[in-house]
């Protein structure tokens, strides 16, 4: 398992392998081929950042460019999922959910329940999130908390190439609607990824580092920051357990609770704005179900309650930093 590829390549490979395996898998989105109707190459773009590149020619007729009509084509993906396909639709930036959320949260998410169990909607919505690209307030949000709140949706936040591939394959095979969150800064992250196909089950956290002093739960890009902070804390003699839930819904509560039972101290790292966030969600879980073990206040490391600023000078302050995480670890550890 020595081969290293990027997070972006891992996603592309997962799509490619699932399309090869299952003819009902289709891909759609704005410029997912790229170049439709244009004189040049028909897969000129392969997605705005090239994630779906190459699929158009390999899987003829199954990579569909769409007009800029997110309600239209994401709803179409949902409808197609009700009629035998397994569409993977791309919402280019999660920030655009505001023009198509209904088809996701009132339609796809609720069909099974509203219809008394008699429908299934195996649709995947891939979407790009997160700050760090100097893309400003309308192209940098996290927003996975909104999807996590909605019963009927599963929400995936891969933090590395290996997970990205395995979780996307699971997402495509899953019979529920899945929101697959790709952090734009992670696209270039390299990692070991097996060539063969594999699925990572939902609701199973990955424990990146074991430790007895402080539990850190982090999501997406923040998992890597948390690992760095944990390594730094280690040098100061503080042993952290770093947990990457990998899916926010379903959530692997047991792994988190067991870890806190052991450490008694918890830091949650979430790139989102703080209110009603995954940070508060995990804090609520632990304050209710592992209270007896807690030895210190739960430290929440999040972005501030402001939109994402454009200027690098501000954006770098907006995103939780390794230093802030480390400080939270030390604070949790030192609390008496």
């Amino acid at each position: 398992m020595a081969r290293k590829i990027t997070y972006q390549q891992a996603i592309n490979e997962a799509l490619d392998q699932e399309m090869s395996r299952d003819p009902s898998v289709i891909v759609m989105g704005e410029d997912n081929a790229g170049g439709a109707g244009a004189p040049g190459e028909e897969d000129a773009w392969g997605g705005v950042l090239g994630v779906t590149k190459g699929l158009f020619h390999k899987h003829p007729g199954r990579v569909l460019d769409t007009p800029i009509s997110e309600s239209g084509f994401i709803g179409a993906a949902v409808g197609a999922a009700c009629n035998g396909l397994r569409p993977v639709a791309e919402l280019m930036f999660v920030d655009f959910m505001g023009v198509c959320l209904d088809q996701i949260f009132n339609q796809a998410a609720k069909f099974k329940y509203m219809f008394g169990g008699k429908a299934q909607t195996p649709v995947v919505i891939r979407t790009m999130y997160g700050a760090g690209f100097r893309a400003a307030a309308q192209h940098s949000q996290c927003l996975y908390n909104v999807f996590t709140h909605i019963p009927g949706l599963k929400v995936v936040v891969p933090s590395n190439p290996y997970d990205a591939k395995g979780l996307l394959i699971q997402a495509i095979r899953d019979n529920d609607p899945v929101i697959f969150m790709e952090h734009k800064v992670l696209y270039t992250m390299q990692g070991e990824v097996p060539e063969e196909s594999y699925a990572i089950p939902f609701g199973e956290a990955n424990v990146l580092r074991e430790g007895d002093d402080v539990t850190i739960v982090a999501f997406g890009r923040m998992v890597n920051f948390a690992s760095e902070a944990a390594a730094a804390a280690q040098k100061k003699g503080v042993h952290c357990e770093v947990i990457d839930p990998r899916t926010t819904s379903p959530l692997d509560e047991d792994t988190i609770l067991e870890s806190v039972e052991k450490t008694g101290r918890l830091v949650v790292v979430d790139e989102s704005n703080p209110r009603c966030s995954m940070a508060s969600d995990i804090a609520g879980l632990v304050a209710q179900k592992a209270f007896g073990a807690l030895k210190a206040p739960i430290e929440l490391v999040t972005a501030p309650h402001v939109p994402v600023p454009f200027s690098d000078a501000l954006e770098d302050l907006y995103v939780p930093s390794v230093a802030r995480i480390e400080a939270a670890i030390i604070k949790a550890k030192e609390y008496k």
């Binding site: 289709i26 007729g61 199954r62 569909l64 769409t66 007009p67 009509s69 309600s71 239209g72 084509f73 994401i74 709803g75 179409a76 993906a77 949902v78 409808g79 197609a80 999922a81 009700c82 009629n83 035998g84 396909l85 569409p87 209904d102 088809q103 009132n106 339609q107 069909f111 099974k112 329940y113 509203m114 219809f115 008394g116 169990g117 008699k118 429908a119 299934q120 019963p151 009927g152 599963k154 899953d174 019979n175 529920d176 609701g203 379903p250």
Partner: protein, 324 residues
């Protein structure tokens, strides 16, 4: 008689329309007693639309419906007994009592659900049509929506997408003159909804929704074109609803006597009966027999709905994920 339907087809059409009417009249009566919970929107008056369209469909064709969905359901073949139980909130309902009037669905007969979100069905039906197209199974998707919904972005986006992807999709705008209390003359910026078809590169057709045969013929053409790869059509059906927007609506925005006049002069069942008996193809007695059978069926559905059990507490937590 220009209809392509044989006697059997005619009887089926009449039975469908009568079933919808009887169903809705009964829900209306029972709602008044306070026994039926929630928001209920009745389709009475518009029967020829759902029936004229759905006569051309089979179970692999999907329809998407609206908050006013009972008629579409019945026309598409959903069992009225299950529907009635659903509306009464019973465990035996089409959706086990979890959906109610606004969410009756039965995918096994190609009914993708009533929908509580105005305009919600447009995108969905593009998807079912796309699946059919990619499979090459000659199936079509039909989206029913109202005049109010015709101003919703989702419907516009869906129509554009249907042409861009050349989908076998039919958009049936049921223009009953009102969205709640707001007149379509006010809310629709052009004269006819069908006039919007050209903006989305598809044919637009206007049809009298009280005339089953007119709807049947126009829908037939559009559906045939779609099955043959000819792409989408926008069909505007001019109709009227006999009851309020929802049960409880006092309808003070409507001229007094408007509905009564329609019932007496243009009613789809009345017209249908006149025409098929005049042509000699069907006898009054045959239609009366259907009326009686339908009445018995609906009586039975209500009796069952009343007697059936409510969902059990455990049902609260099931059906939310295929697998968690």
């Amino acid at each position: 008689m220009t209809s392509t339907l044989n006697r059997e087809g005619l009887l089926k059409a009449y039975r469908t329309m009568r079933t919808i009417r009887e169903f809705e009249e009964r829900v209306h009566a029972d709602f008044a007693t306070g026994e039926i919970p929630g928001f209920v929107h009745l389709y009475a008056g518009e029967e020829a639309s759902a029936t004229g369209v759905c006569m051309h469909l089979d179970r692999k064709d999907y329809i998407a419906s609206t908050h006013r969905g009972h008629g579409h359901c019945i026309a598409k073949g959903v069992d009225p007994v299950g529907m009635m139980a659903e509306i009464w909130g019973k465990a035996t309902g089409t959706c086990k009592g979890k959906g109610g009037s606004m969410h009756i669905a039965d995918l096994s007969v190609g009914m993708l659900g009533a929908n509580g979100i105005v305009g919600g069905g447009g995108p969905l039906i593009c998807g079912t049509a796309l699946a059919g197209k990619l499979r090459g199974d000659r199936s079509v998707g039909v989206c029913f929506f109202g005049d109010g919904a015709s101003n919703q972005g989702t419907i516009f986006e869906a129509m554009n997408l249907a042409t861009v992807w050349n989908l076998p999709a039919i958009f049936v705008a049921e223009n009953n003159g009102y969205a709640e209390a707001t007149s379509s003359n006010y809310s629709v910026a052009c004269d006819n909804i069908a006039d919007r078809a050209s903006a989305f590169g598809m044919p637009g057709v206007i049809v009298d929704g009280f005339d089953f045969f007119a709807v049947h013929e126009a829908a037939g053409e559009a559906i045939e074109r779609a099955r043959n790869g000819g792409g989408p059509t926008l069909l505007e059906v001019k109709v009227s609803r006999y009851y309020g927007h929802f049960e409880g609506d006092q309808q003070r925005y409507r001229a007094a006597g408007e509905v009564q006049a329609l019932r007496e002069t243009r009613d789809c069942l009345l017209q249908f009966r006149r025409r098929v008996t005049a042509s000699g193809e069907i006898t009054e007695a045959q239609l009366d027999a259907i009326d009686a059978e339908v009445k018995a069926l609906i009586d039975d559905s209500v009796a069952k709905a009343k007697a059936d059990p409510k969902p059990a507490a455990a049902d609260l937590m099931t059906d939310v994920y295929v697998s968690y």
